[in-house]
């Protein structure tokens, strides 16, 4: 057992941390929201230059060959900076699916520009009725020529408004919630039949509702074997969950940091309010939630390559705990700040919004506890409960 970072990992962490520290202070971040795409193309290029966009991709695909820990290190710093660039939808989700299912030609055509920062993508999967159910896909893909014709509607597609290309899920067979029968397609965001309504999100990101009205996709746009995409979706979403967990830990650290500073500086009745025991204990609770969240983010990152059940159980446990911890930290950070924590001009409000909204992305606490239970009760009970965490699989 070893919690030390390798030299390479430490370098990666330092690089990202420095960049965030130097270029991503709160005021700069708030200005980025006004960019047309809702983020900075320039910073995106810098991410590319630093190699960050290639982190999770294999070296054959032109990537860095990083695993869960590398992803965690990057996302944690992004969380500290409340980074708005579309790393999750482009690199982790859409990119991950292309690497996982794409043909050599598709990988070459898409991953190279993606890693280079020239191609921004999105994963259009959720639908108005799907809530957090990954297998709920109503959008239809009908055979048409040597390709498919897509019809349906995608909901709250992160950065779907400015993406160049979309990875779209659609059903080729089966019932609405079957995991069998789901296919993935690469669709040009400006293709005929695609209508996008973009909007800002509560936490300052961008998303879109996307209507697909008989969108024609050629054979070269089919990703993997049609109808068999679900396992890859689950795995890539799992990576997304680990990424969000790490981001949340970074944001919690920042929210705790701001709050601690405020408690030390703000005076009332003649003393810093950090001298009041009730507030001290609340601060301790925030810190403890953050430590528990950090533990789960590490565990999630460390188990991305394990077998299905252990991996998915861990990811659901992590997302569930982090949703709760994030909400607690957010609410208490605001409460301990008082009115100032409620204002748009003050960073804490925005950390709070991001943390609470993370619980609405890729499944919330309730959904993941339910899933954790389902995956646990599949196993021999004694094993599941008593198994040492660190035991090798």
């Amino acid at each position: 057992m070893d919690f030390n970072l390798t030299d390479e990992q430490r370098m990666l962490q330092d690089t990202v941390a420095r960049m965030i520290r130097e270029q991503y202070d709160f005021e700069s971040r708030m200005k980025l929201l006004e960019e047309p795409a809702g983020y900075s193309k320039e910073i995106w290029s810098q991410f590319a230059d630093l190699g960050l966009l290639g982190i999770p991709f294999s070296e054959e695909s032109g990537g860095f060959g990083g695993g869960g820990v590398e992803l965690m290190l990057v996302m944690q710093e992004f969380g500290r900076g409340l980074v708005v660039e579309p790393y999750l939808p482009t690199v982790v989700l859409a990119g991950g699916l292309i690497e996982s299912l794409g043909s050599d030609a598709q990988k070459e055509a898409l991953l190279e520009p993606l890693i280079g920062g020239e191609l921004v993508m999105s994963f259009a999967h959720g639908e108005p009725q799907s809530r957090y159910d990954l297998s709920h896909v109503e959008t239809k893909a009908e055979k048409s020529g040597d390709g498919y014709r897509l019809t349906g509607r995608k909901a709250v597609v992160l950065n779907g408004d400015s993406a160049d290309k979309l990875v779209v899920s659609a059903r080729v067979s089966g019932d609405v919630t079957d995991s069998d029968g789901i296919a993935l397609f690469v669709v040009d965001a400006n293709a005929e039949g695609v209508t996008r309504r973009g909007y800002q999100t509560v936490d300052g990101l961008r998303a879109a509702e996307i209507i697909l009205d008989g969108v024609q996709v050629g054979a070269d746009g089919v990703l993997g074997e049609p109808g068999k995409a679900f396992p890859a979706i689950e795995q890539v979403v799992g990576r997304g969950i680990a990424a969000l967990c790490a981001e949340a830990v970074g944001a919690m650290e920042a929210a705790c940091g701001w709050t601690l500073e405020y408690l030390n500086q703000r005076k009332q009745f003649g003393v810093p309010i950090g001298k009041f025991q009730a507030l001290q204990h609340r601060m301790v609770d925030m810190q403890m939630h953050t430590e528990q969240a950090r533990s789960m983010a590490i565990l999630a990152a460390s188990r991305l390559e394990e077998d299905y059940e252990l991996r998915e159980r861990t990811l659901s446990a992590a997302k569930a705990l982090i949703g709760q911890a994030g909400r607690f930290v957010s609410e208490q950070a605001i409460q301990l700040h008082g009115g100032i924590g409620m204002t748009w001009e003050y960073a804490v409000a925005h950390y709070a919004k991001r943390l609470v909204m993370i619980d609405h992305v890729l499944g919330d606490t309730d959904q993941h506890i339910e899933r954790y239970v389902a995956l646990t009760d599949n196993q021999a009970e004694g094993e599941a409960a008593g198994a040492p965490l660190a035991a090798n699989a």
Binding site: G126, A155, R197, V202, G339, M342
Partner: protein
């Protein structure tokens, strides 16, 4: 002991219901029920209707135009109003400055200001908090120096709710800087159009504009705008703070919110079934419903004590804490109920009738996350819940 309404109370409830049914403008009720913001015009319109009915000044003595209602009647009115979607009365004029003027003001002040408050001629706002002094009011720094028949006011107030609409502000100002903290404070009425006053909006976490900063730079205020004695403003402030606050628990608002939560949870689907049938979610809704039931009963007990002349005192701190906890829990559940559709930020949906292009999620979804965040204020303003616990532990528990 009888928890039922008396026949008189039932008759009163029917009267209130009839009034609301006939007089509450439908456009206003629709907006309130949808959780949208009201503009100034709408608030004024409703308050004029209430005034015509003689029901605006519920806590004033009858001789000044008050209703003479018992606390239970006020409770009935609040409850029915919330249920019907009537907006709450903006408190700064009718419920805050007016009682102070009635208690401590000169005859001239009463004659001038009270009718203007009833007629909606003045929109009042509150100048209490300052950047350096949150729950610790006595630490305020805004100075007023007597020069002839004027005070000259310099300083800054903050968290001034709806100050953007106001033409009048009541302020606590320091008139004797040498005096000990709570002494040397005076209570001034200030015309917002006086030169030297600047109002700057504060945008809050969800992007809304409810509160403001107000800056005073050499603002001349006639001495006749002093309420009570110079340096005795703390008496007015304390009176106002401990002034009976019937509605502090927000029972009516909480019930309305709960009812909305339930209708959302019936409409939302989880795994193909209404979310309201999800055992865990349903249990949470029931928990908060039961908590609210108990709180309503607690509120009624406090009201009954108030009717008998027992001072609500620190009990209102309990109701404030419990009431805000219950409402925050309900808003939290609403946000969670809509899943990913809590994410879009569509401020045009808060105020206007509908968005453009493809709709984004169910009609009720867009304001929910904002409402959740905005309502974090409940446990902060009006004396944070921590301050309320300090009060209870001193006043009730003697700790």
């Amino acid at each position: 002991m009888d928890i039922h309404y008396t026949p008189e109370e039932q008759a009163f409830r029917d009267e209130v219901r009839t009034f609301l049914k006939n007089k509450l403008p439908e456009d206003i009720a629709t907006k309130v029920k949808a959780g949208k913001h009201l503009g100034k015009e709408e608030m004024v319109r409703w308050q004029k209707i209430l005034n015509e009915q003689g029901w605006l000044a519920q806590s004033w003595p009858v001789e000044y135009g008050g209703t003479g209602w018992t606390p239970v009647q006020k409770h009935i009115f609040d409850e029915e109003s919330s249920k019907a979607g009537a907006p709450g009365v903006v408190p700064f004029g009718v419920s805050m400055v007016a009682p102070v003027i009635i208690k401590f003001g000169t005859e001239a002040q009463k004659e001038y200001y009270l009718p203007r408050i009833l007629n909606q001629d003045d929109w009042w706002c509150q100048g209490y908090s300052e950047p350096g002094a949150g729950s610790d009011l006595a630490g305020l720094k805004t100075r007023a120096v007597r020069e002839g028949d004027h005070y000259v006011v310099n300083g800054q107030k903050t968290w001034t709710t709806l100050g953007q609409y106001a033409n009048m502000i009541f302020c606590l100002v320091r008139t004797d800087p040498e005096a000990k903290k709570q002494e040397g404070i005076s209570f001034l009425l200030i015309d917002m159009s006086t030169p030297g006053i600047t109002v700057r909006p504060i945008y809050t976490i969800e992007g809304g504009h409810e509160v403001n900063e107000v800056f005073f730079e050499d603002v001349k205020v006639p001495v006749e705008n002093l309420v009570g004695e110079e340096n005795k403003g703390w008496t007015c402030a304390k009176y106002l703070l401990t002034h009976e606050r019937t509605g502090i628990a927000g029972v009516g608002m909480a019930k309305e919110a709960l009812s909305k939560l339930k209708s959302i949870a019936w409409d939302q689907k989880k795994n193909g079934r209404p979310l309201m049938e999800d055992p865990l979610f349903r249990n949470r809704v029931a928990q908060v419903e039961i908590d609210l039931m108990a709180m309503e009963m607690t509120n009624l007990r406090v009201l009954a004590a108030a009717k008998e002349g027992g001072a609500p005192g620190a009990e209102s701190s309990m109701l404030k804490i419990k009431g805000t906890e219950v409402r925050q829990e309900i808003y939290d559940l609403m946000r969670r109920a809509v899943g990913p559709y809590a994410i879009p930020f569509l401020p045009e949906f808060f105020d206007a009738e509908a968005g453009e292009g493809p709709e984004v999620g169910p009609e009720y979804a867009p304001p929910l996350a904002g409402r959740y965040f905005n309502n974090r204020k409940l446990s902060i303003y009006g004396g944070s819940n921590e301050i309320q616990k300090n009060i209870i532990s001193k006043m009730i528990l003697g700790l």
